[in-house]
Assembly symmetry: none
Homo-oligomer: 402 residues x 2
Amino acid sequence: MQIEDLGSLLAPVNSKIVLLVMDGLGGLPMEPGGKTELETANTPNMDKLAAEGILGQSCPISAGITPGSGPAHLSLFGIDPVKTEVGRGVLEAFGVNVTVNKGDVAARGNFCTLDSNGIIIDRRAGRISSEEAAPICERLKSIKIPGVEIEVKHVKEYRFVVVMRGAGLSPDLEETDPQRTGAAPLKVVAQNGAAQKAADLFNKWIEEANKLMKDEPKANGLTLRGFATDPGLPTYKELYNLRAACVAVYPMYRGVAQLVGMDLIKFDGETPEDEFKAVADHWNEYDFFFVHIKKSDSYGEDGNFDGKVKIIEGVDAALPKLVGLHPDVLVITGDHSTPAKLRTHSWHPVPYLLWAPASVRPDTEKEFGERACMHGGLGIFPALDNMPLSLAHALRLNKFGA
Amino acid sequence: MQIEDLGSLLAPVNSKIVLLVMDGLGGLPMEPGGKTELETANTPNMDKLAAEGILGQSCPISAGITPGSGPAHLSLFGIDPVKTEVGRGVLEAFGVNVTVNKGDVAARGNFCTLDSNGIIIDRRAGRISSEEAAPICERLKSIKIPGVEIEVKHVKEYRFVVVMRGAGLSPDLEETDPQRTGAAPLKVVAQNGAAQKAADLFNKWIEEANKLMKDEPKANGLTLRGFATDPGLPTYKELYNLRAACVAVYPMYRGVAQLVGMDLIKFDGETPEDEFKAVADHWNEYDFFFVHIKKSDSYGEDGNFDGKVKIIEGVDAALPKLVGLHPDVLVITGDHSTPAKLRTHSWHPVPYLLWAPASVRPDTEKEFGERACMHGGLGIFPALDNMPLSLAHALRLNKFGA
């Protein structure tokens, strides 16, 4: 049982909500009897908020399911990611300010290294630097295909996006990455007749691109994936009557925020302090701030337990800046778990802390950690509940029924 | 929000999952302040697994609903028993290796004792022994009804199955057991016009059967129930890409396992040691083992608290044999609760222990019991989540979305 549309319950209240997402926050002990990354981290500020607030475990999709970052964020934003699939191409494109309209087809591209027979020998072109890759993207912009407009933009390192605009295009296309070295990039294959035109055009574009790149030492080939068009998601304004903003360093998270109508706040630097300062600088312009910390996930994926601990401690140290703004609701959580032990996203539920001095019912827990969250007053709940919980604690939801 | 089909997420991994079901495991204290059967039992091996793993409470159907054994097992197997009804006749037939194809109608039969007026005076024929009942079933095999093929097979004690095969049969039939003594067996009544033919044929068969049994001292009558045809369930191979096997003593549990495509492992004996040895003997042939312990439920239904405690302790004592096989995931739970205090199945959630050394997030609990499970890190969850959780902890599920 779920109220699918909160629209009729929204109250015209001025209150401020901050959603602080430490990507991949949830962890595991490295050894039997040990502590997780979050439990190991020295986090006096979060522990104080935990003692004053309420804890729980949020479940991004459903039991046992490991989410990608896109679906996991959609859940936190209150949009069912099982019903609403958003292609990676669109997420990346929005993240670098490339517009994808209904009918356009966006794809995420990876540069790769091919041998003299056209076989992939490195799927990420030796993790080529942004400095080396950006000029190659510039060259790809020169490719013209009659009948369509094509936009290419570099994202980071070996990654770029390409968006095709024109009549009669469909994103129902198979990716070209064979997912292993020792094989050639695949052709773009249409999943149905309606997508044949787009498949032909993308294959033509790849052919031209390969010619332009053939003398590059590292990035002499490419693969495309995540073909998608604008999913037409409802915005935070429409869903929740919130003026919402995103503070994030990485393009993809800015992308998913933009898809639900959040403004992107521009700021210098990339530390938690820099991000929290960006929130402070725009505090009066918005009702809702989504603040995204990437590196907790990156270190988790590297298997770097201590690195992840330090990132969490860094966020904690900067936290007084955010709390000092006196948000009505502050949620601190992750989008999913990325235990250093597993070196990848995982299905484990995510530690969740809700602090709301005027309205929260505190539980008995005194610190922020996985096991404390297991005993937290919110129990285990779908991440989809994050927005209703946040709005309620911000006193922004009216009574349902008489 | 639920991923209904895990098929697209399955990873080609070699890992092994054991699901150990102690039937009716969940219990109640006999007196205020007392302990449950599981809490009373001395279970050092399970307690060690509990300390290393994670606990929770599984809910077979939904809050307050007491399940039969068929639906409860379907939930554990990941098949929604509310959407998928499987008749008792089919479960029993599969359990004794009688095939039920689509369009066949299977029924579970009980011998009963009738007085000279045809009134039931014992609904289970004085709990007639298997030795006495089997020859009666042999005699029933001689009954011929034109136009249909009929198979009769003895199950155990007063129980047998009868399967009718032919064109135009429907299982939409009312059972003939009046559910009390002092009444005659009912006629088979069709629930709709399409089932009239089957009703007539079963009534004809019962008439012939009664003639053959009229001089039996105990089993001189019968009732039929659970009319059903093959529900066509998906198999473990189809659902989860698992080579699955069942180790169970009782026919009905072998039946429900066969319905989802598990192989039945034949073995001698019926103790937990015997069952665990059967798993060991076939360890390399399968990815998933369903091991069923019946007597915890039987003692619960008898109101025999101490007997149920001893069964649990017997399983615990034998457990090192199973753990010594080094499964990647070991789940120990029940299909439902059968508190000796209530002498019947109940709706109470079921203690659930998940042990998976490489991937589990341990909680704070140190022993396996109902109250420890109430504090367990998995919370209360639908038994339907058992398979996604097991597959995830066996690292057999890929990421959902990018």
